[in-house]
Each structure stands twice: as C-alpha cells, then as structure tokens.
Amino acid sequence: MKKIRNRNSKKKQIETKYMLIALTVVCVLGIFGGLVYNINGGPLKAIAGYIFVPMQQGINATGSWIFNTANDFKTLSQVLEENEKLKEQNAELTNQLTIAKIEQYELENLRELFDLSEKYPTYEKVAANVIAKDSGNWFSSFTINRGEKDGIMVGMNVLADGGLVGIVTDVGPNYSKVRSIIDDANNVSAMVPSTGDNFNVSGNLKTMNEAMVITFSELRDAENSVKIGEPVITSYVSDQYHQGILIGYISSIEFGPNNLTKIGTITPVADFEHLEDVLVIKKIKDVGNTVDTEPTE
C-alpha cells in the first residue's frame, strides 16, 4: 500500500515538473512573441476584458459614490469661502479671456496675411474614465474604459488637465492600456516653443518619487535662453505624439555630464496622483505619409 502511494506521489512530482517546464516554455514564447512579432494576447484580452473591466468599473463607481457622499458634508462656510474666491478668480479670468480674444483676432488676421494654416489643429477627442492602475509599484500605466469598440487604437495620445498624460499601448474590446509619460520606460520628443530646440523627455520613477518631476536631456541651448518655468510641448519630430501638446514646465536646468547639452527636470501639468477623467485624441500621428509626399530631390 505504502509503495503504491509512494510511486503515485513520485509520478505526480514528475508530472508537476513537466507542467512547470511546459508553462515556462509558454511564457517564454509569449515574451518572445511580444518582443519580436508584437503579438499580444488576442482572444485572451477579450475574455479578460469582459470579466474584469465591469468589476473594476463597479468598484470605482462605489468608491466615488462614497467619496462624493463624504464630500457633501463639507461645511457651508467652507463652500461660501470658496465661492468668494472663485468669484474673484472668475473676474480675473474673464479679463484675461477678453485680452486673449483680442489677441486671437489679431493672430488670425496675421495668419491670413501670411497664408498660414492652423499650426496646432484641434483634434477630435473622446472622453474616458480611468478604471484601474498598475498593480505593482514599479511602473506607471493605467486602464481606461474605452477600447476597440469606441474606435481606440494603439498609438493614440491621451490628455488630462490640458496636458499630455500618455499613449495607448494596448487595446482590448472594451478597455485600453495607457502608458503614462511618467513611466520609467517612457520617452517623449519635446521642444521649448521659445527656442524651438528639440530634446528628450523621459519618465523617471526616482525623480517622480522624490519631487514629482520627470527628467529631460539632450537640450542644446547654446545661448542659455531656456529658463526655469518655461513650458515644454511635444515636438514635431516625434513619431508617436502629436505636435504642440503641453507636457509641463521646466523646474530645473543644468549642464549635462558632457557639458554640451543640458539636462534637468519638468513638472508635468497633468495630476497623475488623481487621474480620473482623460481625453483620447482619436487620431494617430501618421508619419509614413509625410515621407511619401515629400519631394525627393
């Protein structure tokens, strides 16, 4: 009796070992397929999407309901005070808007004169909710509740608070995965509008953790004209991001280790801590066509 059991358990052990090897091979093939052929899930994504996305949405809905109910108990005096402040701000903003409008009118006239088409076109956008964040603590990606069915495609830019948030890296039928610009493995080609210099902005877990900033490098600024506080926008040379989207403001700048180009940090405009609603630009930057239509002289 004991012998039989022993043999059985031994057989089982060998079976488990083989299964481990088989599953390891499956995983390695999966990683390899993703790296080399860009295969990513397929039907697995659809199944997982239909199971988990509704759950995540449900939990988020309950969470925000609780949060909102708790917020309702804010005292009246607080609200009144806030109202007073907002009124002041409103007056100021209206004033600014009027000036902006006048300037816009002037700008349009000048553009007409110079025969320039709009430099920063307004893109068609679709609103989406953030339903889940990365499960670990190493990377910064999140899931939104719009997918293939809403016309989302890999490579679309995602915005929030008037600034760049990230890029769609994977699409399921009812969800998509967005890698944010603060992710440690993310890079964006950017430029400073005042000088037009192109440089590289990369997400960084370390600086983000320490001071809520991301890093930039390779800024050629020979005349020292780029100052702290200047806005940084996406560059026309980027093949992934549309031109002219605000990324953030320069918070520090210094010479890099090679003493030729400058490095520093940027404070992003988007609030990555409390990301709830985002906008997805429903247009992928096409780089292939422009190459074809350019004269080949």
Binding site: T16, T24, S135
Partner: protein, 173 residues
C-alpha cells in the same frame, strides 16, 4: 471544481482590489501586493502544483492589464508559487510566523528580480534608492496586510478541504 471556482474568485477580487481601491489607500504611492500573498500561501498550503497554477494565472492577468509582454509576470509568479510549494512539508495551520516569513521572502524576491530585469538593464543603478523607496515599503505593507489576509485564506482553504473530504467519502460509499 468548487476549489477552482473559489480560487478564481479569490484571484479576481485580489486583482481588482489591487488595481482600484488599494491604489487610493496607498501610503506614499506604495500598494501592498495581494496576489503574491495568495500565490505564496496557496503554494505553501497546497503544494507545488497548485502554487504553480495559481501563480501562472495571477501573473497572466497582471500581464494582460499591466505588463509589457505577455508572460513576464506569469513566469515570475509561477515560480514564486512553485518554490513556496517546496516548503509545504513544513506547513502547520497553527503557525503564522512561518507563512509570514515565506510570503515576505516571496515579495522581496519578486521585486528584486523585477529590479534586476526591468530596471538595472536600463542602467538605473541606484539600487539603494529603489530598495528603500519601493522594495522595502512594499515588503512592510504586504507583510502587515498578510497578518489579516492570510488567516482568511487559511479559513477558506480549510473549508474547501473539509468539503473535498466529505465528497470523497460520499463517492467511496
């Protein structure tokens, strides 16, 4: 069959909690790793095979929603479950210190490998920073959560085993 359904629910609930609620309950941007607790405890309680499968599926879900390439986290979590299964012989339901130690070690291992594979290879050399700001806080937070969460998992497993025993007797008759 019941075991599979229950396990599926445990994994789903943990994954959903980890990606939604726990993100807003995080201290200093660090969230505890519930799935590693599930994978390591079941490996410890039930052996290599079950630990391996639970690890594989938990990792696969993470891969689909948060990973870069399908298979990285599946591979890591699978080996965590499998190696926890090696210690099944030393598992006693009354003792909580040993599982606590194993779960903590699993979390530490997992994060060290993630650092080596995904950060060191991209020339992020400041290990001290990542250790004190990411790995250690997650370890502490996960261990604290484990004290409560492990007892729940233990109870669920005991209930399942009792149910399986009853069924086995029924079929023998």
């Amino acid at each position: 069959m019941l075991r599979k359904i229950v396990l599926f629910f445990i994994i789903s609930i943990c994954f959903v909690l980890q990606t939604t609620t726990l993100q807003s309950l995080s201290f200093a941007n660090i969230t505890p790793n519930l799935l590693i607790i599930v994978v390591a405890s079941f490996g410890l309680m039930r052996g290599k095979k079950e630990g391996m499968f639970i690890g594989f599926f938990s990792g696969l879900i993470i891969d689909i929603f948060c990973g870069f390439y399908l298979g990285i986290y599946a591979l890591l979590y699978m080996y965590v479950g499998y190696s926890a299964g090696f210690l099944q012989k030393r598992f006693y339901p009354e003792d909580i210190k040993f599982p606590l130690l194993i779960i903590a070690a699993s979390d530490l291992n997992l994060n060290l490998i993630i650092y080596l594979v995904m950060f060191l290879t991209r020339s992020r050399y400041d290990f001290g920073f990542y250790f004190t700001n990411i790995i250690l806080p997650e370890l502490v937070y996960t261990t604290i959560v484990t004290i409560f969460f492990y007892l729940i998992l233990l109870k669920i497993n005991q209930k399942l085993e009792a149910y399986e025993k009853r069924r086995a007797i029924k079929f023998d008759l």
